[in-house]
Each structure stands twice: as structure tokens, then as C-alpha cells.
Symmetry: C2
Subunit: 190 residues, 2 copies
């Protein structure tokens, strides 16, 4: 281990995201990221396996957070309520990291390979939610569908949060989408 | 164009899927596929851009079929009913091609790159369903959510159809999943 660098990980992430937006993801070598962050490549590779990892390193922690929220939901919560509790927990992290999340998304939206990677991470998150629901004793079919429905809600609400006028919090948008999904599935002709 | 080969496309598809299962997708060159099908490479490339395309060539037609079914749903159909009509139309195609669909899925399940590609195709199908719903006058938010919910149902029902005991048709499994999703979203603690 090299000398201690205060918040090296955060500085590298900020520098990488800025450069990916300014120059494009493909056009940014790791050397540029470390130069802007004022850190060495050695430090970079202590925190991230490669430059793509800067964008997806958080997804494991996000899965853990969501699975934890499902487990921590009150025993009386329905499967969908438990899944929505996970989305709310994720929303709090996204809100707190607002500007970085928006930067990150603009980088991903601009690159087909990164969009694919994002879809895989969402599929993995859906699997983690379904597992956490099954651990609560939810039947397999319901667990899978509630998890997939939660991911559907997250995709749509997140898209509105990123691209919308910014008047609503992500939690509000999630609640709106849960209601709209409920209305659509219940067969209301909205 | 070369001489007419009776059902060349179908023969190439069958040969390719068999070989992908027997030897692995990565280990199967186009030359092997054409040898087994008794056709030339020239014929292969008249039908498919590359060996991956054999697995995904049908997805464009599937999108058209689904969008057409949404458009053809009765005017009084709710957004979800219209989306389910699209799934039923897709189910009929899958049932008709049963063995090929199962072969294809076992190839995709065994290869990470192909699984990614499948996720992208499903995201594209979701977009096509949402477009078709908007064309019926459905509000944007409801269109997106009904489309994503339909894809969620398709994923889960299709998985059960492929891996289950084979006692139910895909249409039956789709109907079961639509009901289970409705129950989960309505907040029943199944």
C-alpha cells in the first residue's frame, strides 16, 4: 500500500466522470484520470480494476443495500412493499450523490457497451431482490414478479428523475410509478 | 443471388443450433454450420450477418408481431390487456417453434455475451411495446410501465416454460404470471 491519500477513491471517481463527459469514455486513458485527480496510476488500480469499474463499482453495494432493506421491512409488509422499501433505500443514495449520478448516467447513455453493462447490473439487482424476498418466505413466482416489477418501476422513475424538470424527488417519482403500475396492472384504462 | 435452396434459412438455423449445443457457440465456425446444413457459406451470409445473428435474427420480426398485436387489440382494451395480447402473440410463435426455442435458449444461457445480447433485445422489445401503446393514446408513464411489466411477465413465464415440467402452455404460464403480478402489486401478501 502506498501513502494514505485523503478520499482518493472519491477524487478518482470525480475526475473520471468529468473526463468521460468532456472527452468521451473511450477517449479517456487512466493516465488522464490520475493526472486530473493528482494521484498515481498505482493508486487508481488499488481502487478500480479498470476505467469501466469506476462506473459500476457501486453496484455491488447497491445490491447489498437493497437486499438489506427487503430483509429489514416489517414482517407485515407485502412483497411489493418490501421491494419498494429497497427502491427507497437506493433512492436516498442516488439523491445524496445527485450530481455524480447524473454525470455517470450521461456517460452510460452515450455508450452502447456501457448501456449493456447497465442492463446486466439491473438484471443482477432483480435477482438479488428476488432472493431477498424468498428469504422472507415469499413464494418463488411472486418473488420473481415483485422483483421484476420493482426494477421496472426503478427504470422508469430513474429516467424521469434524470431527464425530467427536477421538481420531484426520486422517492416521489418512485411512489408515482408504483401507483401507475398498480393502476395499469389492475386494468384501469389510463 | 445463387440458386434457390429449399428452406435454406431453416436448415442453417437448425444446423447452427445443434452445433452450438453440441460443441459450444464459441467453438462452432460458420464452415461447420454450412457443412452440416449441406449449403455454402455464400448462402449462409445471404441469410445471416454472422453466427450470432442466427440466434437473434427473429427479434425484429418478434417486435413487429408484438407491436402489431398491441395495435390490433380492441379499442376498449386496457394498456395491460393490449400488452398481454402482444405476449400471447409471441407465445404462439414460441410454441410453434418449441424445440428450436429451447435449443436456442440453452445456447444463450451458456454464454455471457449472448445473455447480454438477449437483455438488450428485451429492452428493445419493451421500447417497441411502449411506442405501440403510446400510438393507442396511452399516457407516456402508463405506456412505459405497462410495457416493462409485460416484459417482466414474459421473462418469468418464459423461464418457467423452458425449465418447468412442461405441463402448461406458455399462454397459460403468461396468464398465471399476469395474475400473480396483479396480486403482488395490489399488495396481497402471497
Amino acid at each position: 500500500m502506498g501513502r494514505w491519500e485523503p478520499n482518493a477513491r472519491g477524487r478518482l471517481e470525480q475526475a473520471a466522470l468529468e473526463l468521460y463527459v468532456e472527452r468521451g469514455y473511450e477517449q479517456t486513458p487512466v493516465a488522464e484520470i490520475t493526472r486530473r485527480a493528482g494521484l498515481t496510476e498505482r493508486t487508481f488500480f488499488r481502487h478500480f480494476a479498470d476505467k469501466r469499474e469506476v462506473l459500476f463499482a457501486g453496484s455491488g453495494r447497491l445490491e447489498e443495500l437493497c437486499a438489506g432493506a427487503v430483509a429489514a421491512a416489517p414482517p407485515a409488509a407485502t412483497p411489493m412493499e418490501a421491494a419498494v422499501a429497497a427502491l427507497d433505500a437506493a433512492a436516498d443514495v442516488f439523491e445524496e450523490r445527485g450530481d455524480l449520478v447524473r454525470l455517470r448516467q450521461s456517460v452510460i447513455d452515450a455508450n452502447a457497451e456501457l448501456r449493456e453493462r447497465e442492463l446486466i447490473k439491473l438484471a443482477s439487482l432483480s435477482g438479488a431482490l428476488a432472493d431477498a424476498l424468498r428469504d422472507r418466505g415469499v413464494a418463488d413466482l411472486t418473488a420473481r414478479l415483485a422483483a421484476e416489477a420493482a426494477i421496472a418501476v426503478l427504470k422508469v422513475a430513474f429516467g424521469r428523475w434524470i431527464h425530467g424538470p427536477g421538481e420531484q424527488t426520486l422517492r416521489q417519482l418512485l411512489a408515482e410509478c408504483v401507483d401507475a403500475l398498480g393502476a395499469a396492472v389492475a386494468g384501469e384504462a389510463v
